[in-house]
């Protein structure tokens, strides 16, 4: 093989193909309760810190700021306020499904009444006039629910 040919070599890449690394992530006892409430009762719950009294959603085991374990579940409203949101226009491969996520869609941080933190979710509208900071929203549940965050279909702008 002469030198010229070496320089002109076609640069190859190796595809990972359809390989995947399947996982079974534990949701934990607090998260499982949250998902079961969504699935069975269309209710949203949070968890309250015994020390600072902040109510977190989704529930988690530890209040990071107080460093104490949490256990008290509290019911939350299915209505809340948009803290921040954006209309996503660019396409990308959703790693959860492996296919292109349809755009545009609106992604929002919803502060549910009764909670101190936000639940991140979709809104039902991509109208910039409707999806605004401070707008009121209400959860819309799927008919068939499986114990998954997507049992909430989206939040409807009121």
């Amino acid at each position: 093989m002469n030198e010229k040919k070496r320089e002109d070599v076609e640069l190859l890449s190796i595809s990972s193909g359809e390989t995947s690394q399947p996982f079974q992530w534990s949701v934990g006892k607090h998260g499982s309760y949250f998902l079961q409430q969504l699935r069975d009762n269309k209710k949203i719950v949070g968890i309250r810190c015994p020390k600072c009294k902040r109510v977190y959603v989704p529930p988690r085991p530890v209040c990071g700021q107080c460093y104490v374990a949490m256990d008290e579940m509290v019911p939350l409203s299915d209505e809340g306020t948009i803290y921040v949101c954006t209309i996503v226009q660019f396409g990308f491969v959703d790693p959860s499904t492996g296919v292109q996520r349809p755009v545009p869609y609106t992604w929002a941080f919803v502060k549910l009444d009764g909670a101190d933190t936000c639940l991140t979710h979709f809104l039902d509208s991509v109208d910039p006039e409707k999806v605004k900071v401070g707008a009121r929203v209400k959860a819309v549940f799927e008919e068939r629910r499986t114990g998954n965050l997507m049992d909430i279909k989206h939040f409807a702008v009121l």
Binding site: I14, S16, T19, Q21, P22, F23, Q24, W25, S26, V27, G28, K29, G31, R60, P61, V62, C63, G64, Q65, Y67, A69
Partner: protein, 378 residues
């Protein structure tokens, strides 16, 4: 060196599948270590977490556990590798003068993914992965090459398994305490020649944590310090073909440095107890040689003579070792936790009487590519 002390240790039980989340396990280990030290999270100046994105199925996996590790508002960092390497970094952060105390915590849920796929991903995607190689098949290559070099037999490997699974019966945290015979091990299911099921560690779930302090920070803690007398780590080449798989020169190099700092001249007699990373039975024999417990190729003599049994000259893995519980990344830190408990005389039924100086060992990469050696003492 005796500049940095271990003042608190915590470990969860290891099981084949824990139902709690990473956060819950880390919180359990970290709060146990704090309670053991007689300290609160406010006594901790900085945090190092240990995790791996592949095993956790999450990019920046360390992010997921920071609240549970007590990191809020603190200076934190994270190591991807065995927990002993995380402990090493936690120690350096104190030695730098920036902090007096460090909490190091490591977690693993091997039950959530498929070990063969996760460890296949540590091999080169262009030249090796397609061959289906994983941690176990690579280890089998190493075991074969070690047998050819040393004359160790499959019976010798089985003896390690019998000893360690037996020791695990004294350890309430262990995943697989077993009363088995050499014959049982030899008859267990073939995994990859020459390794049988009982030559291989069970990948499982667990978490561990330690609290480190310099002399200045000691007054915050109630526990008597166990000092880090010497520590070093070293990595060999990645490509298996570039290494002499039968001899661990990286372990030799790390041990030499750690021994020098700790003033260890004859490890077999100077050390009172050792906790080694025996992911596969044959590894323990190889590590005997790398650590200078036995001459090259003669590791099997120690297991045949019983020198490394509970009543031997240098008990190795009184906890049952990694063969009895293998939460990857956590396993090396557990060795350090166990070494600390031994020096304190708090190892319960697995205590080696009068242990004053202990060795803890962690590995990283395929076939023990990198090794970390800690010597701790009162």
């Amino acid at each position: 060196m005796s500049k940095i002390a271990i003042v608190g240790v915590g470990q969860t039980t290891c099981t084949s599948s824990r139902e709690d989340t990473f956060e819950e396990m880390v919180f359990e280990a970290a709060t146990k270590a704090l309670a053991d030290a007689g300290a609160e999270v406010g006594d901790i100046d900085n945090v190092v977490t240990v995790s791996n994105d592949f095993w956790d199925g999450r990019t920046i996996s360390s992010m997921a556990v920071q609240e549970a590790a007590g990191s809020w508002g603190k200076d934190v960092s994270t190591v991807e590798g065995d927990g002993t390497f995380g402990a090493f970094y936690g120690m350096m952060r104190i030695l730098s003068g920036s902090f007096d105390t460090t909490l190091v915590v490591s977690h693993m849920k091997g039950s959530e993914s498929i070990m063969n796929l996760i460890t296949n991903a540590m091999f080169d995607p262009i030249y090796q992965r397609g061959l289906g190689i994983d941690a176990t098949s690579a280890a089998a290559l190493q075991a074969r090459s070690y047998m050819a070099m040393s004359g160790a037999t499959e019976e010798d490997f089985a003896r390690v398994s019998v000893k360690n699974h037996g020791n695990a019966r004294n350890n309430p945290y262990a995943q697989l305490p077993l009363k088995v015979s050499v014959r049982d091990v030899l008859a267990s299911r073939k995994i990859a020649e020459p390794l049988k099921l009982l030559d291989c560690s069970p990948i499982g779930d667990g978490a561990a944590a330690i609290v480190l302090s310099n002399r200045k920070g000691l007054k915050r803690f109630k526990k008597d310090p166990v000092w880090i007398k010497g520590v070093a780590h070293c990595a060999d080449a990645f490509n298996l073909g570039y290494r002499d798989l039968a001899k661990s020169r990286a372990l030799k190099a790390a041990a030499k440095k750690a021994y020098k700092a700790a003033g260890i001249q004859k490890p077999l007699s100077d050390l009172d107890v050792a906790e080694l990373y025996d992911a596969y039975s044959y590894m323990e024999l190889m590590w005997y040689e790398g650590l200078g417990f036995a001459p090259e190729g003669k590791g099997y003599e120690l297991i045949r003579s019983g020198a490394t049994g509970m009543k031997g000259e240098l008990p190795v893995n009184p906890s049952g070792g990694v063969l009895s519980s293998h939460p990857v990344l956590v396993a090396g830190m557990v060795r350090l936790v166990e070494a600390t408990l031994q020096v304190r005389g708090e190892a319960g039924k697995r205590q080696v009487k009068g242990a004053k100086t202990a060795l803890a060992h962690g590995i990283n990469g395929p076939c023990g590519q990198a090794h970390c050696v800690f010597i701790v003492g009162a």
